[in-house]
């Protein structure tokens, strides 16, 4: 009797509504990030087609719970529904920003990325920060005096020597979870006045500086130009 009258009641099935809204929401959030190009702040561009396909499947799947909207609910709102709102809300409310100086640690020092080969050509002007970092770890001695032209964001270390700053970049293999930082110190008289996270192009030659009693490679800059954040803020091995 009770079960029957419950079945007849046309009540909203909250679990079905939540499933439809969350699936469609995540799909639209992902497609919007793909359309605006900010998806590559999170993952390697290689996987964008895969994520796009996933978002389209989610959008199709969002239709399925609609049939249950006015059916007596067999399930209630569960922890899965609430927890999947977290990526949805974070993706919508917080503006898309790539990893920057805020996440950079002083200990992030020219990590050698597995599988990354040192550049074989000697056209050092064309090397990016990752190629420089790899080359320096392999044959650092041969590179003194070579010309440099690299792009990255400004990273001001807590105990930066006066007249220097670091130009830094993140290297992503798959997604932001495996990010590694690469950086090079830059000798530049106005270095201290640069704000962290400002994107710059640094031109100069490779030299060395003394830090904590060690000699480490550094860029002796002849020009530091402010630029807009590049379309691809990360480097990929």
């Amino acid at each position: 009797m009770l079960a029957q009258s419950r079945q007849n009641i046309r009540t909203i099935n909250a679990a079905a509504v939540a499933e439809c809204a969350i699936l469609a929401g995540i799909a639209v959030m992902l497609l919007a990030k793909v359309a605006s190009g900010t998806i590559i702040y999170y993952i390697n561009p290689r996987w964008v087609p895969l994520v796009t396909a996933g978002a389209i499947i989610l959008l199709i799947a969002a239709v399925v719970p609609v049939r249950d909207f006015w059916r007596a609910p067999q399930r209630r709102i569960q922890s899965g529904h609430i927890l999947l709102c977290i990526p949805l809300l974070l993706g919508i409310i917080l503006p898309a920003r790539p990893l920057g100086a805020g996440a950079f640690a002083d200990s992030n020092q020219n990590t050698v990325i597995p599988g990354m080969l040192a550049p074989s050509d000697d056209d050092t002007v064309k090397w990016n920060l990752l190629q420089w970092s790899t080359a320096l770890s392999v044959r650092g001695d041969e590179l003194a005096g070579q010309p440099i032209d690299v792009t990255g964001f400004v990273y001001q270390e807590r105990e930066q020597a006066s007249g220097t700053f670091s130009v830094a970049r993140y290297v992503i293999i798959c997604c932001t979870a495996d990010s590694n930082g690469v950086r090079l110190p830059v000798v530049w008289s106005e270095g201290a006045s640069l704000e962290s996270d400002q994107w710059v192009t640094v031109r100069g030659t490779l030299g060395t500086i003394e830090k904590d009693g060690r000699t480490i490679p550094a860029i002796l800059a002849s020009a530091v130009t402010h630029i807009d954040r590049p379309e691809h803020p990360y480097l990929y091995p």
Binding site: L30, V64, A101, T111
Partner: protein, 358 residues
């Protein structure tokens, strides 16, 4: 009278819940819009830590989502179109063959740990050999096409890692299956609550299982469209059940990555033994679905020794907080403890040996 008021009450609470949910959503969206309108640059002042955690968490989530989707769709198709009996009909009786077959069954049954336990539970309840069930539970979360592909994708250019992960998982699963399979009374290894036929059993700790059984009941759709619809419905349910482990695991991973300075991690993780212990502990704490854990393991590659990362990749899918709870629905507590200790020791050994000799 009584039924009338109950109906009103349930109707009332359903609406109330809906309104609360909509209210919270609207409040959050309007806060976001207000902040955007008030001062667009204010967000750049937002604590750098929050920004970083969000960027890393969304990176893990977005990267893993297609694999999770593929996992739940394929496992739902198999759930809908294949019966356990069909698989059981061809399962071997000799313990070694049964354990071996169990370890490889995941290749046909691509489920992560949340799916392998209910499946093994059904297999064993319907008379499959115990070594097969145990080997399947432990190996299937790794020895299956989707996890192999996602590991391959995560560690692009390192096929040795994929091979080591799959080979070791299968080997350890077979050994544990055989060790426990020699028990003179295999039925004592099982949980006392394990029924002879699980068709109408709804395990309280595993709603997943309950849903499986519901679908396998009398209302089996016959038309193709009806079946395809059921597959999608099952896939959505599974997506939300698995998705929560992905969200919680991803959040913990992102917070750990930013909260613990890399230098501190390095200082714990440097020794050949301690590095393995640290990452095995982390694998348990993170409780990440094996479909996606390769991406998390990848982030440890620079900081930890290879043996430790390998231990994370092999141990995580076998044992973590949620899988221990779920194993308790099938096996007795002693068996669960034995499985946990045996796999812990074997993975630890392999990790340390790899660190020292490779």
């Amino acid at each position: 009278m009584r039924s009338q008021s109950l109906v009103f009450a349930s109707r009332h609470t359903a609406w109330l819940k809906l309104f609360i949910a909509i209210g919270i959503m609207l409040a959050l969206v309007s806060i976001g819009l207000f902040l955007l309108w008030a001062d667009a640059t204010r967000f750049s002042m937002l604590d750098a830590w929050t920004q970083t955690v969000t960027a890393i968490f969304l990176g893990i989530f977005i990267e893993a989502l297609p694999f999770l989707l593929a996992g739940v769709v394929v496992s739902s198709i198999i759930h809908q179109f294949l019966t356990v009996e069909q698989i059981q009909r061809i399962c071997p009786r000799s313990p070694i063959l049964a354990a071996g077959a169990g370890a490889l069954l995941g290749l046909l049954f691509p489920v992560c740990e949340c799916g392998s336990i209910p499946a093994a539970r059904q297999l064993i309840a319907k008379g499959a050999p115990v070594p097969m069930g145990i080997a399947f539970v432990l190996a299937a979360p790794v020895v299956n096409p989707i996890v192999i592909i996602s590991t391959w994708v995560a560690f692009a250019g390192r096929p040795d890692i994929v091979l080591a992960r799959v080979g070791l998982s299968a080997l350890i699963a077979v050994v544990i299956g055989l060790v426990l399979g020699t028990h003179p009374h295999p039925e004592r290894l099982m949980a006392s609550s394990l029924p002879a036929d699980t068709d109408h059993d709804h395990a309280p700790t595993c709603s997943h299982d309950g849903h499986h059984d519901h679908d396998a009941g009398n209302d089996q759709p016959v038309t193709f469209i009806g079946r395809a619809w059921s597959v999608l419905q099952h896939a959505i349910t599974e997506l939300f059940e698995m998705g929560r482990y992905l969200v919680v695991g991803g959040l913990i991973a992102a917070i750990l990555q930013t909260a613990i300075p890399k230098a501190a991690l390095l200082s714990i993780g440097q020794g050949p033994l301690t590095s393995v212990l640290v990452l095995m502990t982390l694998a348990v704490l993170l409780s990440i679905c094996s479909t996606v854990d390769a991406f998390v393991a990848l982030s440890f590659m620079g900081t930890f020794q290879f043996g430790a990362v390998l231990a994370f990749l092999v141990f995580g899918p076998m044992i973590d907080i949620k899988s221990v709870l779920m194993l308790g629905t099938t096996f007795s507590r002693r068996t669960v403890a034995l499985i946990t200790v045996l796999s812990f020791l074997m993975v630890l050994l392999v990790g340390v040996v790899t660190n020292i000799y490779l």
